[in-house]
């Protein structure tokens, strides 16, 4: 009989631990993220999409603008997935590279600005909740995540320029380096 009781207790304990974790998050992370989401959504609405589109058009020429400034601002302003739409202002040749950089900016900035990619927040939050459990501030981690991302995502976009050239040769096609905007 004792055995069965132990077994049942152990079984319930699985869910109790989960429930404690859940309600802990509901009390700490959820309100914080919600407030940030509201503030960011408002800011984005007030600034407007047109301004960021203008920046995109001017960023085509320079790799630093193209793979660092544009995807960073784009992820902040348009969030995932619409940030990828900014690629339409770039020449065909650079679209894969922009995607490579932008896809990563949708994560590295997510620690501080969760509105960018709330659906995949737990990549950051999963690890950061361990930090929180130790009583250490999550912000330190989030800021370093963003800064390392800023540099390495740029490198990622830039390296993709070369892999694109390589695949071009492999497939024997040439992608245009000229901007072609329709409509």
């Amino acid at each position: 009989m004792d055995f069965i009781v132990k077994l049942a207790e152990g079984f319930i304990n699985l869910f109790q631990t989960g429930a404690d974790t859940f309600i802990d998050w509901m009390g700490s992370i959820v309100p914080l993220v919600l407030m940030l989401l509201i503030a960011m959504n408002t800011l984005i609405q007030l600034i407007g999409e047109n301004r960021i589109n203008k920046i995109a058009q001017k960023s085509a020429g320079n790799p630093l603008l193209r793979y660092m400034v544009l995807p960073f601002l784009g992820s902040f302003m348009l969030a995932n997935p619409m940030l990828h739409s900014l690629g339409r202002f770039l020449p065909e040749k650079y679209k894969p590279s922009y995607f490579a950089a932008a896809g990563q900016f949708a994560h590295t900035s997510n620690g501080i600005f969760p509105h960018i990619n709330p659906a995949e927040l737990f990549i950051f939050l999963g690890i950061a909740s361990g930090i929180q459990q130790l009583g250490l501030p999550m912000t330190d981690l989030a800021i370093r995540y963003l800064l390392v991302g800023l540099v390495m995502n740029f490198v990622g976009g830039w390296v993709t320029d070369f892999t694109t050239s390589y695949v071009e040769k492999q497939q024997k096609v040439k992608l245009s380096k000229k901007v072609n905007i329709e409509g």
Partner: protein
């Protein structure tokens, strides 16, 4: 050979039944499933005579797509094709979720579909067609209804603003009032959007992860994981191995969907950090290590959003996979260098 195919939802799925067939130029079934071809694609093609196209390797003009087959866990793709008006078949059991969830409706989307859910549409095609047109009509109607409704709610609070805004000689007070009204409305709408996102996207995932943590910590599995994870995630070399594996070009598109694998790995490592088995400064390189496959499954769709040509997508997919591979391990290493002094 232009029969119609009927697709119903699987158990726990959402939406449908869809009845689709070749219609003019629309004769292609596009599957965007990280490269492998689900069996239902063959079956749909067999019944309808449509041709299958791997959306991961090439792109198809939107007006030639009869239906899209996806394997989205609920973050993005499940909304993108419905948004474009393309009938969408998800092989996962995802319902209305993700940032584009408002486009996912019963009329255009069906999920958790396997071979058994695909069948030839009823003998009397006429009736089926009729029902389809009825369905379309009804969907149009509901759309219209929604539109008029949203317009109606819009015009309710807009009319006053509009009439005021149309007045030529606005007093300062009116101007302030209009401005404040606009800002407050924006805040309110932003709040509605944010609450929706939390309810439909973040909290469900939180529940899933919390249960996972409960099972890991409450049972003995936690110690087992600690034994496996600590040597792997507890030092920089192990993290680089994780990063390397996740970035392998043939694996990364399969690990990508929904970021679910990355999020589960993150949670596991987080638990170990919380218990003190992994030093906290390694959290930074770990963030990069578990996510070297980032967006690898999403390349064709992302390039599609950038209005890339078919040629660009064909070049872009392998190119980005290669660059993810080249970057993966260095990213982890640089993050490790940047983690010195963190939480010391």
């Amino acid at each position: 050979m232009s029969k119609k195919v009927k697709i119903v939802k699987g158990s726990g799925g959402f939406g449908g039944p869809l009845v689709i067939g070749i219609n003019g130029k629309k004769d292609k079934v596009m599957y965007v499933t990280g490269g492998h071809k689900p069996a239902i694609v063959d079956k749909i093609c067999e019944i309808t005579g449509a041709s299958a196209v791997n959306g991961f390797e090439t792109s198809v003009p939107e007006d030639e797509i009869m239906a899209a087959v996806i394997d989205c866990g609920g973050t993005l793709r499940c909304g993108i094709y419905p948004q474009k008006g393309i009938p969408t078949i998800n092989i996962m059991a995802t319902g209305k979720s993700g940032p584009l969830r408002q486009y996912i409706t019963e009329e255009i989307y069906v999920s958790n579909v396997d071979v058994d859910q695909v069948s030839v549409a009823g003998e009397d095609e006429g009736a089926e067609q009729a029902s389809e047109t009825v369905q379309q009509a009804s969907s149009e109607e509901t759309e219209k209804k929604e539109k008029t409704e949203s317009e109606a709610t819009y015009s309710k609070d807009k009319k006053i603003m509009e009439t005021r805004a149309e007045q030529e000689n606005k007093s300062l007070l009116t101007k302030i009032g209009l401005g404040a009204g606009k800002v407050i409305n924006t805040f309110y709408q932003a709040s509605r959007d944010a609450v929706e996102t939390m309810l439909h996207t973040v909290i469900p995932f939180m529940g899933f992860v919390a249960l996972l943590i409960g099972i890991i910590q409450g049972s003995g599995i936690g110690d087992l994981f600690a034994n496996i994870m600590s040597p792997l995630a507890g030092n920089i070399w192990g993290l680089m191995v994780i990063g390397f594996v996740c970035s392998l070009p043939f694996l990364s598109p399969l690990l990508g969907p929904g970021g679910v694998i990355g999020q589960v790995l993150g949670t596991l490592i987080g638990v170990e950090i919380g218990k003190g088995n992994i030093p906290p400064n390694l959290a930074l390189p770990a963030l990069f290590a578990i996510n070297t496959q980032n967006a690898a499954d999403f390349i064709p769709v992302g390039l599609g959003l950038a209005e890339a040509e078919t040629k660009t997508i064909e070049v872009g997919v392998p190119s980005v996979l290669y660059s993810r591979f080249l970057n993966g391990v260095p990213r982890v290493f640089v993050a490790w260098l940047a983690s010195f002094g963190l939480y010391k």
